[in-house]
């Protein structure tokens, strides 16, 4: 098997790598690019620890081939904080003790961000079903669900505040944020 050359974008940066055709995106991230924030809990798409976004879509990076991400945009846990400023979800997970061992945490954060980008006002049931593809064995999910709900609440408040400041805005703040992505909404 000869190696494949791939040009892609990860967390907004241009990245080039070579990989064998049988390597998953997770293998590439971890073993070729040294981005070990995405974790392998199963390698079969059952645990969600390797969650990343591919062109904004939530995927298990263990189920995507490294060779097929050329020209696409990948978002990983390493790109979630902006400089030294944590994403609101990261901050809330920290403050709410929504992690114990922390191995599933990157996957949960990526998945939760993808949810809040689509729906800033999820019900508890919506949060629970959205996160059902991410396994956590330590927390019993209670504090994770609370952290996601609390973040959504804060983000709605922040959006309402910024829309009050800018009465000229035509679109509703919720829609605007959802379109732009929660990544930039704090």
């Amino acid at each position: 098997m000869s190696a494949v050359h791939v040009s892609t974008k990860i967390n907004g940066d241009d990245v080039e790598f070579v990989c064998r055709p049988d390597e998953s995106l997770l293998d590439v991230l971890r073993d070729r690019l040294g981005m070990t924030g995405s974790k392998e809990g199963c390698g079969t798409g059952d645990c969600g620890s390797c969650s990343v976004t591919l062109d904004g879509r939530l995927v298990c990076s263990c189920l995507v081939m490294g060779a097929e991400v050329g020209g696409h945009e990948i978002g990983t846990i390493e790109g979630m904080a902006q400089g030294d400023k944590l994403h609101p979800l990261q901050q809330k997970f920290l403050e709410g003790a929504a992690l114990q061992c922390g191995i599933c945490t990157p996957g949960f954060l990526i998945a939760a961000r993808a949810l809040l980008e689509r729906n800033m006002d999820p019900t508890e049931t919506e949060v629970r079903y959205w996160l059902a593809g991410n396994l956590c064995r330590c927390t019993g999910y209670d504090k994770i669900v609370r952290a996601v709900m609390d973040t959504a609440k804060d983000m709605r408040k922040a959006a309402a505040k910024s829309s009050a400041k800018k009465p000229a805005a035509k679109k509703s703040p919720a829609k605007k944020t959802a379109k732009k992505g929660a990544r930039h909404a704090a």
Binding site: L86, A97, L99, G102, P106, Y129, A132, C138, G140
Partner: protein, 771 residues
């Protein structure tokens, strides 16, 4: 304040302890920077993979590794021959890490390779030729005890007269014609606990309930597979980076298996992605070291999820019989139990602890428990959160639930009537000191969840649980930095936020800010021996040692202040982060803060540090009471947990958020055990569900919020009253959910898991009997 007393003075007023600051390792864990087992790499490392037996039981006639060795890129191939038996090593662990002559379970390691990359290593595994002679196997605990079962370790365990076993007369009732075999048996141990006269006790009973129960093996299910990087140099110096609950254990066991001096091996624990007891032993670590030794290069070994299921420790499956007699008013007069746990292919199932815990919640005059440790063709069981206790509690609390129902007594009231309290002689021997079971029962009864009205097909269950909590060898150092901040070196791996708890206790003891203390987990060459992070011992033991190490440091700092002031050391006291003259007679000096003392350390005698080491005792048992509401769909047998309440005694909650987290996490693991999780073996003895798709642990949408109440009955064995909290939370859920189902549909589930088809069959059975 005594600066160093063997009897801890119990503190009850706190500034830092009981608050909920962010954990020191938190930012790294939410940004992906934290390094877990598989995140380590060494320059020039090879990839190691293990070849595993596809058979449940087979004689290994020959292993031909020549083709694998000849493959370009392969740097080492090893079999048991490369790990010769060392004098004094643990033979069972040696055989478990690499089969020697016989493969004892599906997944048993047979050989291993190290190659330049994973593709080459995978190819090499396929080139290893193993000639097996498949043998008869047994995976069920009851079957394994019978004389007709294949014997796993011929000649090792005494032949037993099957018909004389408690299990034969109590449980199966069947007499076997063949009662002994020449090769011995699969019964590795028999344990008996209790006191009083059980037969006499039952004669006083107005009601007697007895049943058989079965639970399947469940896996700890940590999301991080086992991983390590081993590097052995040609001079015998070795490094091992590994995710483990016990780096000192890994060092000592690996050194013993490989014939190394302990000083040659330095083990650095990574962040650990869950353990729950499953990372308290070695599997791939000695194999990686042996590969590295042979290849002369670092070797990284990471298990696949399938390997984790097939060959690391699930807990035991169990077959049990429980009988309890009570008076009409609910007073228990006698209790009797036979527990049979299979621990996989080697002795060591947690039946002894299961037997000790079975009736520990109750004050019983007449009690007897017999436990059997049985070997089968399954992976060697490993500790799983309160090892052995959830199964026996499932049986005992189920019988108690039935007695309460039959007598028309409230489920909490019947437990209150019989609850163990201070002065109770426990069913396993010791007399309890101050314990909090009654407080948990009262708090559960007062909780709003207990008053919610239930609808159609809904039911409520109650169960209590007990765990001993361990203490053990612990060693801590604290170093004062030049600016008055502190570095705290711990030897107990942080599984769920313990660094935060240690910083809180150090800050409390010193009277300084939480952020001024940084806690790290030391490697094995930097600190004295520490026992494994297990047995709910860390916050108790390392907390105790941290407090004592800080007291040692305070004494030294007071000595420096005395030197500066020119007064005797005992004329100085420590208060609110500073040294003060102890009284008016000591002199009118301004206090010296920790920062000022740190700045002058060099001029007053050199660096300042505190240290403490102890084989700790005085761990306080933790009791819990759980209340659960479920709704059962009569059409499908599917079940939904509507509400779940955990009430548990923490002694003193150092960081309440992480105490709640332990309660919630244990409860949900227990819910998984009762509803979904099981090891499913095929007729050929191979595991059929070695993946998260088919071995289904609870997901977010399976469970509700888990309500918690922290009860605090201080443990007199700890300066702040701490009890361990990590394990008790998994003890009650099995029975709690089963009791709730019984209340919902009138069927008592005595076999786990209670999957929808089983529940549906039970519902239909009840309907048929009524028709």
């Amino acid at each position: 304040m005594p600066l160093d007393a063997n009897t801890p003075d119990l503190r009850t007023e706190f500034k830092s302890v009981g608050t909920r600051p962010n954990r020191p390792d938190g930012v790294d864990k939410v940004t992906g920077r934290a390094r877990f087992g598989a995140d380590f790499s060494a320059p020039g490392q090879l990839v190691g993979l293990v070849l595993r037996s596809p058979h449940a039981h087979a004689r290994i006639k020959s292993i031909d590794t020549s083709a694998a060795e000849a493959l370009p890129g392969v740097k080492a191939v090893i079999t048991y021959k490369d790990i010769p038996e060392q004098e004094g090593c643990d033979k069972d662990v040696l055989v478990n890490i690499m089969a020697r002559g016989t493969a004892l379970y599906d997944g048993h390691a047979v050989a291993a390779v190290a190659a330049t990359d994973a593709a080459v290593a995978r190819k090499a595994l396929k080139l290893i030729k193993v000639d097996y002679k498949v043998l008869k196997h047994v995976t069920d605990v009851d079957e394994a005890m019978k004389p007709s079962a294949p014997v796993l370790h011929p000649g090792r365990f005494e032949p037993v007269d099957y018909n004389s076993l408690e299990t034969a007369s109590h449980v199966s009732g069947k007499q076997e014609t063949k009662t002994k075999t020449r090769e011995g048996s699969n019964i590795a141990g028999r344990y008996v606990f209790g006191h009083g006269d059980v037969d006499k006790g039952f004669k006083q009973a107005d009601i007697i309930v007895e049943h058989e129960f079965k639970t399947e093996a469940t896996h700890q299910g940590y999301i991080e597979p086992h991983a390590c990087v081993a590097s052995v140099s040609s001079d015998g110096m070795a490094e091992l980076w590994v995710c483990t609950q016990g780096p000192f254990m890994v060092r000592d066991v690996c050194a013993s298996l490989l014939g190394m001096d302990v000083s040659r091996l330095r083990v650095t624990p990574s962040e650990i992605g869950g353990g729950f007891g499953g990372k308290t032993t070695v599997f791939i670590e000695p194999v990686a070291l042996a590969l590295s030794r042979k290849a002369g290069k670092p070797v990284k070994v990471v298990m696949s999820r399938s390997e984790v299921f097939r060959c690391t420790g699930p807990t035991s499956s169990a077959s049990m019989w429980v009988k309890i007699g009570a008076k009409k008013d609910g007073t228990f007069v006698a209790a009797d139990a036979v527990l049979k746990y299979q621990g996989g292919a080697f002795p060591g199932s947690p039946v002894e602890m299961g037997a000790m815990c079975a009736f520990a919640c109750y004050d019983l005059r007449n009690v007897r428990i017999v436990g059997y440790d049985v070997v089968t063709n399954r992976p060697k069981q490993a500790a799983y959160r309160a090892p052995g206790a959830p199964m026996s509690a499932f049986a005992v609390e189920g019988v108690i639930g039935e007695i309460a129902d039959k007598l028309g007594i409230d489920a909490i009231d019947i437990r209150l009537k019989n609850a163990a309290k201070e002065g109770t002689v426990s069913s396993y021997g010791p007399t309890f000191g101050p314990v909090g079971l009654v407080e948990t029962l009262e708090a559960a009864k007062a909780h709003k969840n207990y008053k919610v009205k239930l609808g159609k097909n809904q039911g409520r269950g109650v169960a209590s649980g007990f765990w001993f909590n361990f203490a053990g060898n612990t060693c801590v150092s604290i170093n004062l930095n030049v600016d008055g901040t502190l570095a705290l070196a711990l030897g107990t791996v942080d599984i769920g936020g313990s660094r935060a708890s240690m910083c809180l206790m150090a800050a409390e003891e010193l009277g300084i800010a939480y952020d001024d203390v940084r806690a790290i987990i030391a490697d094995t060459s930097s600190l004295g021996y520490n026992d494994i992070s297990e047995g709910s011992r860390v916050t108790f033991s390392s907390g105790l040692a941290t407090i004592k190490a800080v007291r040692d440091l305070k004494k030294r700092m007071c000595g420096r202040a005395a030197k500066i002031w020119g007064i005797p050391e005992d004329a100085v006291k420590w208060e609110n982060g500073a040294a003060h003259p102890a009284g008016a007679n000591a002199g009118g000096f301004d206090p010296l803060s920790i920062k000022e003392i740190a700045a002058q350390a060099s001029a007053t005698g050199g660096p300042l540090a505190g240290h403490y080491e102890i084989n700790a005792e005085g761990a306080g048992p933790s009791f819990a009471t759980h209340v659960c509401d479920v709704e059962v769909d009569p059409e499908t047998g599917a079940m939904k947990v509507l509400r779940y309440l955990v009430v548990q005694d923490a002694g003193k909650a150092i960081h309440p958020s992480y105490v709640e987290g332990q309660y919630q996490g244990g409860a949900v693991q227990g819910i998984g055990w009762v509803l979904n999780e099981e090891y499913f073996y095929g007729k050929d003895g191979t595991l059929q569900n070695a993946g998260f798709l088919d071995y289904r642990i609870p997901v977010c949408s399976d469970v509700p919020m888990i309500d918690t109440v922290i009860v605090e009955v201080p443990n007199p064995g700890h300066p702040y009253g701490v009890r361990g909290v990590g394990e008790t939370s998994i003890v009650p859920p099995l029975a709690c959910v089963a009791n709730a189902v019984s209340s919902a549909i009138g069927v008592r589930a005595r076999t786990l898991p209670m999957s929808p088809p089983k529940v549906l069959a039970a519902i239909e059975g009840v309907a048929a009997s009524k028709a």
